[in-house]
């Protein structure tokens, strides 16, 4: 095998203390410890290795600019269209559904798709469900969304979804979005709860929160194939196992305080004056119905076979 590098660069979009960054850090710690320091991994948050453009992370791993990454399925979907699966509106009703996909046959099929695009995936972690917040009024049904200006993550599927819901999706960088939210130039946004909390969006007037679980963003822990080939089989096993462990740790962190058994964080938000709406089954069905045409159109684009496999896995 070729010589090991003195340091391996791990790219993430957000660093500590987010679950995302923490799972990357944990991965690095475990690997360094178990390889007796043969493999040193350094985490570069903020997608700084690609000048902050997280959608270019995947290509950079394939090219060998980045050695490893804990990447978002949304950010990598321009390169791997199968990753759009997790952005299909209202596919996954709960955390069990996410696990049924990532830990089963579907997850395997997606890993094969990533592999075919030149990057080696090792394990899953989690950024969480993306939830909706706005400054106007509680949103329980699509009617409540009518005409609301919502800042969405920049992607065609997200635009389609919010247009179908009757909202007015607005695409702007996160840097521009925060001032736009605080001044009311934009009414709402959608993000994982970790971002909502860290940016203290409730202090910017975003006090109506809808826990609608419309899409989820699992994270993929991956390594450059060029780098992988230089590792001994023994070290490969260590790196892979550490990724699985660190990923599981990240999933736990991402769900903390947000589950049915442990709603502590939601309670904390309520205490801060946030009105938390958890749509009932009937209310959710209305969202599902409104976004059905988008779902069907994108089912074809992503691959009908994979989507059906996912529906089965969740249905079980």
């Amino acid at each position: 095998a070729a010589e090991y590098k003195s340091e391996y660069k791990v790219s993430t979009v957000v660093g500590k203390p987010f679950p995302w960054g923490l799972s990357a850090e944990r991965w690095a710690e475990l690997v360094e410890e178990r390889t007796d320091g043969r493999i040193k991994m350094k985490v570069y948050p903020g997608a700084q290795l690609v000048q902050g453009d997280q959608t270019k992370e995947f290509t950079a791993i394939r090219q060998g600019i980045i050695d490893m990454a804990v990447g978002s399925t949304i950010n990598w979907s321009p390169q791997v269209k199968e990753l759009n699966l997790f952005s299909l509106p209202f596919l996954m009703p709960d955390y069990e559904a996410i696990d049924a996909l990532t830990q089963g046959e579907v997850g395997q099929a997606i890993f094969e798709a990533i592999d075919a695009k030149g990057v080696l995936p090792l394990a899953w972690s989690e950024n969480g469900f993306r939830e909706l917040s706005n400054s106007k009024h509680p949103v329980r049904t699509p009617e409540d969304l009518a005409g609301l200006k919502i800042r969405v993550v920049g992607s065609p599927l997200y635009n389609d979804t919010f247009t179908a819901l009757g909202a007015n999706p607005t695409q702007m960088s996160w840097a521009d979005a925060q001032p736009a939210l605080s001044t009311g130039a934009v009414d709402g946004q959608e993000n994982p709860m970790a971002i909502y909390g860290a940016a203290k969006l409730y202090t910017l007037g975003q006090t109506h929160l809808t826990m609608w679980r419309y899409v989820a963003d699992p994270l993929v822990m991956a390594v450059s194939k060029r780098v992988w080939e230089t590792f001994t089989p023994e070290d490969q096993a260590i790196v892979r196992e550490a990724a699985v462990e660190a990923g599981r740790y990240g999933v736990e962190l991402a769900r903390e305080g947000l589950t049915g058994e442990n709603p502590a964080y939601l309670e904390e938000l309520r205490g801060l004056g946030v009105e938390v709406v958890e749509p009932t089954a009937e209310e959710r069905a209305k969202f599902v119905a409104a976004t059905r045409p988008v779902y069907e159109a994108w089912k074809e684009k992503i691959g009908a076979e994979l989507v059906e496999k996912a529906e089965q896995a969740i249905g079980k």
Binding site: K5, E7, K9, Y44, G46, Q48, L49, V50, Q51, G52, D53, K56, T59, A60, Q63, G64, I65, M172, S173, A175, D176, Q178, P179, A180, S182, T183, G184, A185, T203, R226
Partner: protein, 432 residues
């Protein structure tokens, strides 16, 4: 250590022999990556030269350059000069003070020091020369006061800082720059008046004072621009990028429909020239990113920051040390390069010291403003000396005093952070 050293040496060598700063930085970074990392990593040259500039918040930079140029070409500077003359009145050094004031108001429309310097120098140098001010002196005063354009909002320097430092609200930065910008401008009035009095500059200044009210009316559309920019941001009608677009359209509209100085041909020139000026700035942003990438992945910034932190644990001394380094850097580099090179190094220090990042950004911008008129690399002086037709060396005897007084203003903002932070806090922005 070899790669880091080589990176610095190549950069310094190319800088000295007169290669474009953007090229010197990129070449330094390339050599560092080539020696210190693997060849695979060199592929970042393609990715990063694109990604470094393909950022939405950076769009505000060309748009604010366009705003400044639209007002410059529409003749607002002349009207501001008349208005300022009506305010200041005929006196020894009066015209020089008028130049400072006009630079500051133009700074409220333009985000770039050189653009401001060009606008004011074109209008004021002939009349200042007629009134008996030496060209080198006028060029120095205008170059120095035009540097307040990157403190008084809008500011290209602060846009770059907000893009590079995550979690900073650009509106808070803009608000924080206003008072220090006015302070820096006013700090220049004292040496300018003293030198003018002592040397008898401006002896031939006229004794006619333009009538105030008509002068004010003519200047009003220009004076409204800073109001539009600050007001648009404050009320939240526009995001910062949108503010830039609205201000640019307003500037072109004022020139076309109000002053009626701009036709289609002039509008084309404004677009072409502001694109050319913006490109020079953005080209540095693009290529300096390669240097910054190499520095942080080689660990050079971490070790340099560590070394700095090891020299002293006294925050005050550390801050003064950093300010001194930045002042020296300002002599050799343009502001954008300084941000891109030093921020990866300074951010860990700033957070370790728990400095307020808005305040720190304004301090850096003040350093960079001073750098805009300290030779040998002085973008503002380059513009004014070219218009004045004098060598940059001739300005040294005057710029020295101006540097000194603006450094005093900088010290004041260091000692009293409230000068920067009061306004953004009063406006209710998140200041951290």
């Amino acid at each position: 250590m070899g790669a880091e050293l080589a990176m610095l040496l190549v950069f310094a060598m190319l800088l000295v022999i007169g290669a474009p700063i953007a090229i010197a930085l990129a070449m330094g970074g390339i050599v560092g990556i080539w020696l210190g990392l693997d060849q695979m990593a060199l592929q970042m040259v393609g990715t990063n030269s694109y990604n470094g500039i393909a950022k939405y918040p950076l769009i505000a930079i060309p748009l604010f350059v366009l705003t400044g140029m639209a007002f410059e070409r529409s003749g607002v500077a002349e009207r501001l000069v008349t208005f300022a003359q009506a305010l200041v009145g005929p006196r020894r050094g009066g015209l020089a003070v008028v130049a400072i004031l006009v630079c500051m108001v133009m700074g409220g429309m333009s985000g770039s020091g050189p653009a401001d310097a060009a606008a004011v120098a074109t209008v004021m140098l002939p009349s200042m020369t007629r009134a008996g001010y030496p060209r080198a002196f006028s060029g120095s005063v205008i170059a120095a006061s035009a540097s307040t354009a990157i403190l008084i909002p809008p500011s290209i320097a602060l846009i770059v800082y907000a893009v590079l430092v995550p979690g900073i609200d650009l509106r808070a930065l803009f608000a924080a720059g206003l008072v220090p910008g006015l302070l820096a401008g006013l700090a220049l009035v004292l040496p300018t008046m003293l030198i003018s009095k002592k040397r008898g500059f401006g002896a031939a200044e006229g004794t006619v004072r333009p009538p105030l009210w008509p002068a004010f009316k003519a200047a009003l559309p220009g004076l409204f621009a800073p109001v539009l920019i600050l007001g648009g941001l404050r009320t939240g009608i526009f995001t910062p990028t949108e503010t830039a677009a609205v201000a640019a359209v307003y500037g072109m509209a004022v020139g076309t429909f109000f002053y009626r100085t701009l036709g289609l041909g002039e509008l084309y020139r404004i677009l072409a020239d502001s694109a050319a000026v913006s490109a020079v700035i953005m080209f540095i942003v693009s290529l300096a990113g390669i240097f910054a990438w190499a520095g942080s992945t080689l660990g050079a910034f971490d070790s340099a920051a560590g070394a700095l932190l090891a020299t002293t644990d006294n925050p005050a001394i550390l801050l003064l040390l950093i300010m001194a380094v930045l002042l020296v850097a300002g002599m050799l580099l343009d502001g954008i390069s300084i941000y891109l090179i030093t921020l990866p190094l300074l951010m860990p220090i700033a957070s370790a010291m728990e400095w307020n990042l808005v305040w720190f950004g304004v301090l850096m911008a003040m350093n960079i403003a001073i750098g805009q008129f300290t030779p040998p690399v002085a973008v503002n002086l380059m513009v004014t000396t070219r218009i004045a037709g004098v060598g940059m060396e001739e300005t040294l005897r005057w710029t020295a005093w101006l540097v000194l007084s603006m450094t005093a203003a900088l010290l004041l903002v260091i000692l009293v952070p409230g000068l920067a932070l009061w306004l953004p806090e009063a406006l209710g922005y998140i200041v951290r």
